[in-house]
């Protein structure tokens, strides 16, 4: 018991330190610096990766619909928060659009999650009866359908068709100078909630379904209800993640939520470890740092004296990433963390509370 409390205090202290560090970096380096960009986008991707891990890593549902639910969340947020004065300009081809009211940032974030969850509930009903690869293909298909519908001209007054959505509140203008803090707080709360869920009796049921569906059902676990629950909750947080991504990007277009975005997140989840929340968080910062910062040089044509370095050309970064995926999948299938969490490292795995009762 003492041990558990100590661990909790240490964990909270570490989290507080990370938050303080993030704030400090922003104040020292300025909001436009590369490291702050990585912290912002890394945190957003961390939330999305954890939400995908809840489904793929903890419940064993191989779903590839994440980009679709992010899109729903991002659009819900943007549509609801564009200031009234600017609607006419944004929806210039659609007479100012249908939505003629504006809500605050936090309610809009919540609505983004709820709308994504509603879509998931609808899509889940037919799709979750499928298993394995079939589920992956079906969810991937639905994500593409969502993207196509959003760009559909008939509902243009709502979504602005294939035009940009912009001038909604972004990270930079809601808490100027403290963008990292804002992102970390929202993401931290969401990941905290997912962690609490995973460690509850429902989380155990999810893991049971992942390990053995037949046995889980024989233990009285209603497969469909629990899968649906995991799917909806995962999409709720993916929706909030999508909204945060929209805030990070500053403008929004359906075309950027392609299935390649889902693969990026899947890559993060696999690198971090299927079934490890802290692994997903670590991997997402690592991945974003690499793709936005450390590996940028791969895309730039570089001259060493008169010699042009071969292979370095726009797009080569993605080639390197593909190789990384293959190496990870072939040799490090468990990822950085496997199914463990950071705070479980060192010492054998313990069933929490198993000792307490004795």
């Amino acid at each position: 018991m003492k041990n558990g409390k100590l661990r909790l205090i240490i964990s909270l202290a570490v989290v507080a330190l990370l938050y303080a560090g993030g704030c400090l970096v922003e104040h020292l380096e300025g909001t436009k610096s590369m490291v702050v960009t990585v912290l912002q986008k890394g945190a957003v991707y961390a939330l999305i990766a954890v939400s995908m891990n809840l489904l793929n890593g903890f419940t064993g549902l191989f779903s590839l619909g994440q980009a679709g639910f992010m899109l729903v969340g991002a659009y819900s947020y943007a549509i609801l928060t564009i200031p009234m004065a600017k609607r006419a300009a944004v929806y210039q081809y659609y007479d100012g659009g249908w939505v003629q009211f504006t809500v605050g940032v936090i309610p809009a974030l919540l609505v983004a999650g709820v709308v994504a969850a509603l879509f998931a509930a609808l899509i889940g009903m037919p799709v979750l009866r499928l298993k394995g690869d079939y589920l992956a293909i079906a969810t991937l298909g639905f994500a593409e359908i969502i993207r196509a519908i959003v760009q559909w001209d008939t509902i243009g007054p709502l979504t602005n068709g294939s035009n940009l959505l912009k001038t909604y509140p972004t990270l930079k203008n809601i808490m100027p100078g403290n963008t990292v803090l804002f992102t970390f707080i929202v993401v931290g709360i969401c990941i905290g909630l997912i962690l609490l869920l995973i460690n509850s009796t429902y989380g155990r049921a999810f893991k049971a379904i992942r390990d053995d569906e037949v046995a889980a059902e024989a233990m009285g676990i209603n497969l469909f209800h629990h899968k649906q629950m995991a799917f909806v909750i995962s999409s709720f947080f993916a929706g909030i993640g999508g909204a945060l991504l929209a805030m990070y990007q500053g403008s929004l277009q359906a075309n950027s939520f392609k299935s390649s975005m889902t693969y990026e997140i899947l890559l993060i989840v696999v690198i971090g470890g299927m079934g490890s929340v802290s692994g997903s968080v670590l991997a997402s910062f690592l991945f974003i740092a690499c793709s936005e910062w450390w590996l940028r040089f791969l895309d730039a044509e570089t001259m060493v004296g008169d010699f042009k370095v071969p292979l370095l050309a726009p797009g080569f970064r993605m080639v390197v990433f593909s190789v990384v995926i293959m190496v990870v999948v072939l040799f490090f299938r468990k990822g950085i963390m496997g199914t463990r969490e950071l705070w479980e490292l060192g010492g054998r795995r313990q069933a929490k509370g198993g000792r307490r009762i004795k």
Partner: protein
């Protein structure tokens, strides 16, 4: 042979159960009854349809024909329909024509109080022994996902953990509670599976070859163990088993299945002397 007399002590009753897969009749017109507090064994050569019978009871399969009652309540009723009506190969195919089919999924049936173990152990691989049993307590929860996430169910959670630990102690596995389930020796995994089944608060326990792969000493212990938990939890036990010593030692009655048909029924002594059973197991001399 169709509808048996209603019996107040009846826990499980199968009437005219036929299970046909395509053209293969895995079980043909099986009727049996398990009464309160009994240990009943289902035996038969390999491929006789024993596990198929279990799967019909637990909702994994939908029987082609016949009915299953649990404490007098129908939990599966069916008659050959659609294409199966034409290629039906069992008997008594028209007995249940007027009955409305009843189908329950396995989780609903576990809710009603039938718990089972599996022939090829199916423990949750990535979980510890303790967590495996803890999952069995999930179905009796009163919390929803919100109260569970926000830890508003602390009392229930504590009760679940205590119950799981208690069960591990009863099956003698409390010292390995925090070991990964799959790292345990075979015999302990079998006991763990029984503990996990008990965590669902069953009134009827179905054991599918609980002694498979055990040595004679372990098998003897298991026999005592089954009788012990039966008395302790006021259970009724229905089991499939190949170890004849175990079957003859602890069961009150035995049903014998061969090629999907019931060939004998009786007490252990009667079954041992039954020439039909001997013939099924050893084959008959042609001369």
């Amino acid at each position: 042979m169709s509808e048996m007399k209603a019996n107040e002590n009846s826990v499980l009753r199968l009437t005219d159960i036929t299970m046909q897969f395509g053209g293969v009749v895995a079980i043909n017109n099986l009727s049996l009854e398990v009464n309160q507090g009994e240990i009943v064994a289902l035996i038969g050569p390999n491929g006789a349809g024993k596990t198929t019978a279990f799967n019909c009871i637990t909702g994994v399969y939908e029987p082609t024909n016949g009915a299953v009652y649990f404490h007098g309540k129908p939990i599966a009723v069916n008659h050959p329909q659609g294409r199966m009506a034409k290629q039906y190969g069992g008997i008594n195919g028209d007995l249940y024509k007027d009955r409305k089919p009843v189908v329950y999924t396995p989780d609903k049936i576990t809710h009603m109080g039938i718990a089972r173990t599996f022939q090829n152990i199916r423990l949750f691989k990535s979980q510890t022994a303790f967590e495996n049993v803890l999952i069995g307590t999930h179905l009796r929860r009163t919390s929803n996902f919100l109260t569970a996430t926000f830890r508003l169910n602390l009392r229930e959670e504590k009760a679940m953990r205590e119950k799981a630990m208690n069960l591990l102690e009863i099956v003698g596995l409390s010292d390995v509670a925090n070991e990964l389930a799959t790292s345990l020796p075979y015999g302990k995994q079998r006991r763990l599976e029984i503990a996990r089944a008990l965590a669902t608060d069953p009134t009827l326990l179905l054991l599918d070859e609980p002694a498979a792969g055990m040595n004679p000493q372990e098998t003897d212990d298991l026999g005592e163990f089954i009788v012990d938990i039966k008395n302790r939890f006021n259970l009724t036990v229905f089991m499939i088993e190949h170890h004849m010593n175990l079957v003859m030692d602890i069961s009150d009655r035995i049903y014998v299945l061969d090629f999907g048909k019931q060939i004998a029924e009786g007490t252990p002594e009667e079954i041992q002397k039954n020439p039909v059973v001997i013939a099924a197991y050893l084959g008959v001399d042609e001369e």
